[in-house]
Symmetry: C2
Subunit: 346 residues, 2 copies
């Protein structure tokens, strides 16, 4: 294992003093990059995900081209349903679909759990290859979807505005929902541990749809499984939890085994600090749509954001994935503004 | 004007003592009702909206069939862009689209403002007719979209997951955005005043997309216009503001001229009371997906909700519109549970 030349992200997650905040962007390996588009036009989604050389190349693009302080492996949260035996289709620009959804006890019983993580060898290979190619330049982030979010897709079969079917499943068959959530959690823990073994320095858990739950339902259907994952991984690698929209859970999660919590832009940095009692590293929370504004304006907003979070126990990031319509120069400006911050204020 | 036989909603909004909370449901005149479906299959959307007899019939359905404590006029928030000269198409089950969107100063200059509300005579006729047909049984609610939400549709041209274009417009051309927001606000104020004149006892302002804004941007692009509307209407009728997702604005809005604030389920009643310092009537916040659970469970959840809000300065409602897949009996159970509440606890 190479020693890291840039370990800002790891130090921020260990609450150590940093000279400036580390910066990366959710979906940084994605459609706003022309070189990614070239590969997308040549190889379909799961070919890109399942071919370690392609996943590695895509993962490195934003490190080389945008200058972020971390790489995040190119993959998808829906590899877990796949590993558990479900078919997942991905139509370019249309989002994922799962033709056979989970509805009944029999469906839950039919899911593969034992050694399911072994079906994802291509992810570990991609991580190992990327780790070598990175040669210690920046840390490598592995990731998985949170159990609630994975349940949403397994039950609903595709994206949804209201996630009615997933909620109906959880609200009317709570025991079965918990059985499913536990199965997903167990597989996810093994999967994340294997990612760390393969080279991930950090893991992030994306609860993309936790924010559709009330605070009470989050505590029932999302939080226990996030905590389980954070606990299970605590001796393996720092864990960042990103329960999008679930600002109400910040206090509870700040007391978990997680090293960091990601937040979106719908809460002020000040309130997030207050709710987490300044005990944990926070990550976020730039509105991705602001990357469409002129560069000087982006840079000013980034400075304001860092002013609000403070430079310590902080990871500069977006509050959600970067969108395809962001000019590369604007993404670069975001990263540069963070890197320039200490100079601006010194 | 008939005296109201059931004035619970008005009394709750005036913070008067009520024997039980009033109850109604957002989108209560909608697709979960078989009689609505019959009219939908016979007349297209804008025919239903623009024909006072049809709008009246649809408005009365949930009063007759579900037993709610208020009628809300059947209409659409996008009648305002129409009145201001924009074309709005509505494809059944697909949502609205506006073929020619607002992008430039010229587009904003081209919008009709002077007497634009006069283009919506069919709404006033529907209100007057409904008022007569209601014969004082329950109050009648008029409504409009909030300026930020209307801007979203005018600029984006259709529904969106991220509302990128609307945000880009606001973030990169803020002066023009404010000019547009002010035009929408002025027309909306005249429109709501005319609705009150025609028979609306209460008006609600739906900011369906305010929750995509950060607290800072809400204060810039949404809040001033909500406050303007509440101020302008305060001597006409009680105003309920529903800034969906914008829990962070509750304290500010509780100090406004509004009589009530609607909230969704992503904040606990307890915190909402705390943030509003128990100064204002709150409306909400049942997760509509919970109406898909068995009836005894629905009734228990409703009792829990009222326990949390308290029976005073409270309007029982959903946290968002009722979905088409809710059985009518379940909608009825929701209403009944509120009506039974005082009996349960006495």
């Amino acid at each position: 294992m190479n020693r890291l030349k840039n370990d800002l992200l790891l130090r921020a997650l260990r609450k150590e003093t940093v000279e400036r905040p580390p910066v990366w962007m959710m979906r940084q390996a994605g459609r706003y990059l022309p070189d990614y588009i070239k590969l997308r036009d040549k190889y379909n989604f799961f070919t890109r995900v399942q071919t370690p050389e392609l996943a590695c190349e895509i993962t490195l693009q934003p490190v080389d081209q945008v200058g972020v302080d971390a790489a995040i492996i190119f993959s998808d949260i829906l590899v877990i349903p796949q590993a558990m035996g479900m078919e997942v289709l991905m139509e370019e620009g249309k989002g994922p679909s799962l033709p056979k959804v989970v509805k009944t006890q029999k469906d839950v019983d039919g899911l593969i759990t034992k050694n399911a993580e072994n079906n994802l060898k291509y992810v570990y290979d991609a991580l190992s290859l990327t780790k070598i190619e990175l040669n210690g330049r920046v840390p490598l982030i592995g990731f998985a979807g949170a159990p609630w979010t994975i349940l949403c897709y397994m039950v609903e079969g595709k994206g949804s505005k209201t996630w009615d079917k997933a909620k109906q499943f959880a609200y009317t068959q709570p025991a079965l929902a918990h059985e499913l959530l536990q199965k997903i959690t167990s597989v996810t823990i093994n999967y994340l541990k294997a990612q760390v073994k393969a080279g991930a320095d950090i893991v992030q858990v994306f609860d993309s749809w936790s924010g559709i739950l009330s605070p009470g339902d989050f505590k029932i259907f999302a939080q226990p499984y996030l905590l389980q994952i954070a606990d299970a991984l605590k001796n393996d690698a720092p864990v960042i939890l990103f329960p999008k929209g679930s600002w109400y859970a910040l206090n509870d999660l700040s007391k978990s085994s997680a090293a960091g919590i990601g937040i979106d832009w719908c809460i002020t940095p000040q309130l997030a600090r207050k709710l987490t009692e300044n005990k944990i590293t926070l990550q976020g929370n730039f509105d991705p749509a602001k990357l469409l504004a002129p560069i000087p304006q982006i840079k000013q907003w980034v400075r304001d954001m860092i002013d609000s979070f403070g430079t310590q126990k902080y990871i500069a990031n977006l509050g959600h994935g970067i969108t395809p319509n962001v000019p590369v120069d604007h993404a670069k400006a975001f990263v540069e503004a963070v890197k320039e911050y200490s100079l601006v204020t010194s």
